[in-house]
């Protein structure tokens, strides 16, 4: 019975991701962009969920791990002869090394994970608003350094000539891997201990759980997955440092909270819902005909609508679309998990 419930909890999000992947594989080339974006968003949001959802501590710093993943994968996979054009000041070993697609993703993940772990060593002692602001400060520093330190990347330039290897297949496989990793973690001994600290820190400590250590593991794993997502992203579209700062931080956090921050299912649903909405509105900006009615929104209005809907969802359903619960077949009897855990 428990095994079946667990299987449902894992299979539902995986099936949803796979479905998005299959549909994405069938649609036209121009529309594939939307699906790949959505699938990468799933990877990113689930990566953030691993820490924020399980620990109940809000982090604004995860896009820094995503960003170092972007930098690692981007810098290392640009062909050597192309590097001097956009990155003339690179460290010697970076400009003379070029790695393939899969190794670059693994390196991105590793760099993200190590960075998160190192940052976490001091920061995981904090909680509440102090933790939020400290992780924000990490984001600010990371962005500032990536923006101006041209020995490790293109600085203000846009990455160019990164092989565009993230297609629908890779994005889907990547998202499924991230979801499986998140699931495996939250069912593991470590994950359960961390969730216990989220529900009741004092009781968790009383039974011998170290809040600091559990948060640190989750932070590192979460940074690892975020770095991986960053790697996927830079192999998808050329971006610059502005693309991995505040806007992305808010969008991904909003996806998580809108889906329901305390469940894996919520993270996946939130990412797909907001991405879907965003894509739909993007199409409407170009003019779209639905049932004989042509909708043509002025350019730029999609962010207005998306953010208005974000606010609306939060006002109407503060627990998120899923109420922060995992999927269950019975539905009744399992609704134990309160939705307000991401409070402290």
């Amino acid at each position: 019975m428990r095994a079946r419930a667990a299987a449902v909890e894992l299979l539902a999000p995986v099936a949803l991701v796979a479905a998005a992947g299959v549909v994405g594989g069938l649609v036209s080339q121009t529309n594939q962009i939307y699906f790949i974006t959505a699938l990468i968003s799933v990877s990113t949001v689930v990566a953030i969920y691993v820490f924020v959802g399980n620990s109940g501590v809000l982090s604004f710093g995860h896009i820094s791990f995503f960003a170092v993943g972007v930098w690692a994968a981007g810098v290392l996979s640009i062909p050597e002869q192309e590097k001097p054009a956009t990155m003339p000041y690179l460290f010697g070993f970076l400009s003379s090394t070029t790695v393939g697609n899969i190794p670059s993703l693994l390196i991105a993940a590793a760099v993200g994970g190590v960075f998160a772990f190192l940052v976490g060593l001091p920061l995981m002692r904090l909680s509440g608003l102090a933790a939020g602001i400290a992780t924000f400060a990490v984001l600010g520093i990371t962005n500032n350094v990536l923006r101006y330190y041209e020995k490790i990347g293109p600085g203000l330039n846009t990455f160019s000539s990164v092989p565009e290897t993230t297609d629908v297949l890779q994005a889907t496989v990547g998202a499924v891997l991230v979801v499986v990793a998140a699931f495996a973690y939250q069912r593991s001994r470590l994950g359960r201990q961390l969730r216990a600290t989220r529900e009741d820190p004092a009781a968790a400590r009383a039974v011998g759980v170290s809040i600091y250590r559990q948060r640190l593991w989750a932070f590192g794993l979460s940074g690892f997955l975020a770095g991986f997502a960053g790697g996927l992203y830079i192999h998808f579209i050329p971006i610059n440092v502005d693309a991995v700062y505040l806007d992305l931080t808010f969008t991904t956090l909003a996806m998580l909270v809108i889906g329901g921050a305390t469940s894996l299912w919520g993270a996946v649903v939130g990412a797909l819902f907001v991405s879907g909405l965003d894509s739909l509105l993007a199409e409407m900006e170009d003019g779209m005909t639905v049932l004989g009615v042509t909708i043509d929104l002025p350019a730029g209005s999609r962010i207005v609508v998306v953010s208005a809907i974000m606010a609306l969802v939060l006002i109407v359903r503060p627990g998120g679309l899923t109420g922060g619960r995992e999927v269950s077949l019975g539905g009744l009897g399992r609704r134990l998990r309160p939705a307000q855990a991401v409070a402290k």
Partner: protein, 316 residues
Amino acid sequence: MSGLVASGLVASGLGSFAGDAVDLQVQVDAISLGAIFALMAVGIGLVFGVMRLVNFAYGQLIMAGAFALAYASDRGWPVVAGIVLCFAVVLALSLAMERVVFRPLRTQSGAVMLIATFAVAFLLQSIALLWFGPLGKTATSLVELNRPVSIGGVDIRKITIVAIVTAAVCLALLVLLLNRTSIGLHMRAASLDFSTARLLGVRANLVSGVAVLIAGVLAAVVAVLLTVQYPTVTPTYALQETILVLAGVVVGGMTRLLSATLGGFLIGYVSGLLGGALPSSQSQYLPSFLFGLVILVLLVRPDGLFSRSRGVVERV
């Protein structure tokens, strides 16, 4: 890093002691930036105190006010009309925000409220982008105040004096309001313990409305002061400042208005000093230095520099 900052502080401290002209200018600029940040910190801290809500959209209120000023100066309106428009826009937006977003979410967790204010911030920013474009507009009616006056052989821009005086007056008025009026008493009670205050007859909607209104007034004042120094108003106007002030407020200690205000002042002051002290080759890393300091302070004093420290872990 901290050594560098400390030496910067010591150096400028000595400089002002010796009456060194250049350093005095840096000092005055830093104090005036600190004063503006302190006003923003009060706006954020007051709403946090009463509603336990971190208002990330505060910067967008200032942005809206700045656009109002730019709009007025575009049309060649008199200065006073521009300022009136600025106050009207900011106050209307504040009240709408309180009524539509804050009030329904009052019982929700801090995270949900914070994300909701993100959404509002995003919304206002994208509306501004749609309306005024990414390059924004220029507010020029008060640029006169950038002219320097000479005091004791030191050139000081008028706006720095205006900013410091305005901030002092606003804070004094606020202290009077909080300590000498019954609505002030209600607000202080609500920020100590909202539910008990309600039981004793404090009207929740009134108190939070007044807090948001005062925060709005301060945002409008900041908009006027900031547009003098930075007349180019874009959709991301005051965003960077808001982030710094939020950090400053937490560094100071969010639980008390005074410590939050001091934190806001401090981060503005340090930011001004560092901006003057760092060599130009490193000034692009100013945000890193500031955020590094923020992290250091938070690690040493997670409850805030100026807060009366409680135990970090709540007992059962």
